[in-house]
């Protein structure tokens, strides 16, 4: 699990500076931080409060309103099963079932070894290739149960 000792504060400062510490950029700043750690470590919240000059309640409000921000640690690989309409009618729920069984976690959860987080996303716009999953920023299309599991196995040969 990440802790305060491993946060690269210089990098956090650079991100805030990139947006001129603008209050309007709060979501973007949190998204950039999230790109680094796969979540927003709660330790950075007081820093955001101070540098952006916003209330703590606003930071929490924004962090919990938007789906792309998590305040809990997430896995190294974030697996998003697309559950958009096109993927739904082509059997996205079967892909979700197969991955839940394979990873032994439910939707929204993270594996104990912090390798995989399994989430559902509402359409990533690859509707012609459905059912689709994304693993971090890589997209895999035309899946069925077996190929979905195989794809995940490809990310870590040690995970059975």
């Amino acid at each position: 699990m990440e802790n305060i000792a491993t946060i690269d504060w210089d990098e956090i400062d650079r991100i805030i500076e990139k947006y001129d510490a603008s209050r309007e950029a709060l979501l973007m700043i949190m998204q950039d931080i999230s790109d680094m750690y796969n979540y927003v470590p709660p330790e950075v919240i007081p820093v955001l409060v101070e540098k952006l000059g916003v209330r703590k309640s606003l930071v929490y409000s924004v962090a919990t309103f938007y789906k792309t921000i998590s305040l809990e640690p997430r896995g190294k690989y974030i697996v998003n099963v697309c559950t958009g309409t096109a993927c739904h009618v082509r059997g996205a729920d079967k892909i979700m079932d197969a991955l839940q069984d394979h990873l032994h976690i439910k939707e929204g959860e993270t594996t104990d070894d912090l390798l995989f987080t399994l989430e559902a996303v509402r359409c990533i716009g690859c509707c012609a290739s459905g059912p689709v999953i994304t693993v971090n920023q890589e997209t895999h299309g035309g899946l069925d149960r077996a190929t979905a599991v195989k794809t995940i196995k490809g990310y870590n040969e040690n995970v059975s």
Binding site: V62, T68, G125, C127, S129, G141
Partner: protein, 631 residues
């Protein structure tokens, strides 16, 4: 598969800032001459997200290596283009000037393509596209039925240009509309043209664009021109493909909009889930600034306008104008009541002109070809073309651009190739979670804003999800409400509570716990949610439920009264059985069943043990003889 924009400076990219319109014209001429003189082979490989999901990056790498191996890398240009639209068959590779079309290209096809087609000028027969409908082999892109019946005035350049090259866009005539708007037209002229063209907003409601522009221009303040790229309707992805494949067309439209209303700053609000769109659009901004087409003193005209990119956080409601602006301001994206419209008081309490991606991309076309030309396409109330994402249970899935008024039948059957596996068409869902399901009886209806509203659905952003006999309409209604329950911002009671209760009723029906009176209850709550909700999300939320009740009431009744799901989707309400007449004893199902619920000897009728069956559907999907039936 991350495809990086090619950041290296090419010889034709060393251009300095364009000081005036003559410099732009000169650049365009020299680029066109250069591309004619080159006269060399061009391989266009689709690098959109759809093809990317099928492995464009690997194919590209193999292609570059193979060309180098033959020592012909300088004679053949390879272009990573925008989305070609025929996403079902990705990755798509087209060889110009002939237009030779190879779908579903894999890395190990590359040696044959280079050896046979590039070097010897022959077709690789095994790779030629076979039309699923006519079973004919079709070797050239323009003969493929999927493309033949389209009218691609917005989307057509996607396959021809490298989206990361502003020079490519300029050489096909890009930024000539901007030039016209800056030097030959007054802001009033521009607004008049847009009004006369009859263009209506492509993002959902279909509000007349010209009227919106005129209203915004009338209100004083620091006006903002904003692009709504928060394409949230599940099943619609034309905006993503435009931003990824032809970002400059959107950008040019926005600059023209800024001239028209007098704005100097703008935003593109784009989904975080579209990383390639963010990347390509950022690159487009950078290049436009480099050439002086964006920023201060555009083309020496004295007009200033610049754009920032803001990434959304995965909230569907942020596609609504007031929520989007709240989000731009750094707040949670909650909508407000629109007593005062955003064209008067929007972003930072200033007049704000918001249009969606496809709407912006229409603007340069209107300015270039004129309002009359544009208005000659389409129907009485809906002008121009519309890009639909044709997805779901249809043979040729992909993005389809057709004139407004084209019939559903033409789109689904002639362009889309009909329903796969000879299954029966049931409905087409348009308009995303705010839209409705349209049954077979309306297949000959011409699609435009008004016709769709007439049958209880809406245009939305142009998603078209085809459903066949295996889709349960009650489950579809439940699916959309589940989506909307998650996405409701929770501010107003009718939407927050109403959707939740309708979802509960639908969930019960799907679980076999439906009661008499449930349908009427759904209609009653739906009516209240539609009338009393604060924003568009709530007022349109009951549409999927109400249209499925209107057209597929028998399916609801089968669930409630007979405890049956005729489509075989709601697990507690059906079982699988083997049709003894059809079963050939091929053993495929028995081998594939994960629960060993099917047994039987070779060439003898198999048996299915209902106690063991988990209704996963593997046998049903896999049987080649339709011997597994839903009961």
């Amino acid at each position: 598969m991350s495809l990086k924009p090619m950041e290296k400076t090419r010889p034709d990219q060393a251009t300095a800032k364009l000081e005036n319109k003559e410099a732009l014209e000169e650049l365009r001429n020299s680029l066109q001459v250069m591309s004619r003189e080159k006269g060399k082979r061009l391989i266009s490989l689709c690098a959109g997200s759809g093809c990317g999901a099928y492995g464009t990056a690997k194919v590209h790498k193999a292609l570059i290596a193979e060309l180098a191996k033959h020592g012909i890398q300088d004679d053949v240009e390879v272009k990573l283009s925008g989305c070609h639209g025929f996403c079902e068959k990705g990755p798509i590779l087209v060889i110009h000037p002939e237009g030779i079309f190879y779908p579903q290209v894999k890395e190990d096809h590359i040696p044959d393509i280079v050896e046979e087609t590039i070097k010897n000028g022959n077709l690789v027969k095994s790779l030629v596209f076979k039309d699923p409908a006519s079973k004919q082999k079709i070797s050239h892109e323009h003969d493929v039925p999927f493309y033949k019946l389209q009218k691609r005035i917005i989307f057509g350049n996607n396959g021809l240009i490298d989206p990361t090259s502003i020079e490519d866009y300029i050489s096909v005539g890009g930024y000539s509309a901007l030039e016209k708007a800056l030097f030959d037209m007054t802001p009033g002229d521009i607004i008049d043209q847009v009004k006369k063209s009859g263009l209506r907003g492509r993002g959902g409601g279909g509000f007349p664009t010209g009227i919106k522009w005129a209203t915004c221009a009338r209100h004083a303040g620091d006006r903002y021109v904003i692009c709504n790229a928060d394409e949230g309707d599940p099943g619609a992805y034309m905006d993503r493909s435009l931003l990824e494949g032809n970002p400059h067309s959107v950008l040019e439209g926005m600059i023209i909009g800024a001239i028209a209303v007098g704005s100097h700053e703008g935003y593109v609000y784009v989904r975080h889930e579209y990383p390639l769109a963010v990347k390509n659009f950022s690159f487009a901004l950078k290049n436009a600034r480099r050439l002086g087409l964006l920023g201060e003193n555009i083309l020496g005209s004295g007009f200033d306008y610049d754009i920032h990119i803001s990434r959304g956080g995965g909230a569907f409601v942020c596609g609504e104008s007031t929520a989007l602006m709240a989000s731009l301001e750094g707040n949670p994206g909650r909508p407000r009541a629109k007593y005062i419209h955003t064209v008067e008081k929007g972003f930072r309490e200033n007049p704000s002109l918001l249009n969606n991606v496809e709407t912006w991309a229409n603007v340069p076309v209107i300015i270039n070809k004129g309002a009359d030309w544009f208005a000659s396409i389409g129907t009485e109330g809906s002008k121009g073309t519309k890009i639909f994402s044709l997805v779901g249970k249809v043979v040729n899935t992909g993005l389809v651009e057709v004139p407004m008024g084209t019939s559903l039948r033409t789109i689904i059957y002639d362009i889309g190739g009909g329903i796969p596996k000879k299954k029966k068409f049931k409905a087409v869902q348009t308009g995303g979670p705010s839209g409705g399901c349209i049954p077979e009886q309306f297949l000959d209806m011409g699609v435009d804003f008004d016709e769709l509203t007439q049958v209880g659905s809406m245009m939305g952003s142009g998603g078209m999800i085809v459903m066949d006999q295996d889709t349960c309409m009650v489950d579809v209604a439940r699916y959309f409400l589940d989506f909307l329950k998650e996405e409701s911002c929770g501010q107003c009671n009718p939407c927050r509570e109403g959707i939740k209760h309708m979802l509960q009723v639908l969930t019960d029906i799907c679980a076999g716990d439906g009661k008499e009176g449930d349908i009427e209850l759904l209609e009653e709550i739906g009516d209240m949610v539609a009338k009393a909700s604060l924003c568009g999300l709530g007022t349109s939320a009951p549409n999927p439920v109400l249209t499925t009740i209107r057209y597929f009431r028998d399916e609801y009744e089968a669930h409630i009264r007979d405890k049956k799901c005729p489509a075989g989707v709601c697990k507690p309400l059906f079982y699988y059985e083997i049709d003894a007449e059809k079963c050939t004893g091929c053993t495929l199902c028995a081998r594939k069943c994960p629960e060993q619920a099917i047994s039987g000897e070779k060439k003898k009728v198999h048996r299915l043990d209902r106690e063991k069956c988990i209704k996963c559907g593997i046998c049903y999907d896999g049987c080649k003889f339709d011997a597994i039936v839903v009961k």
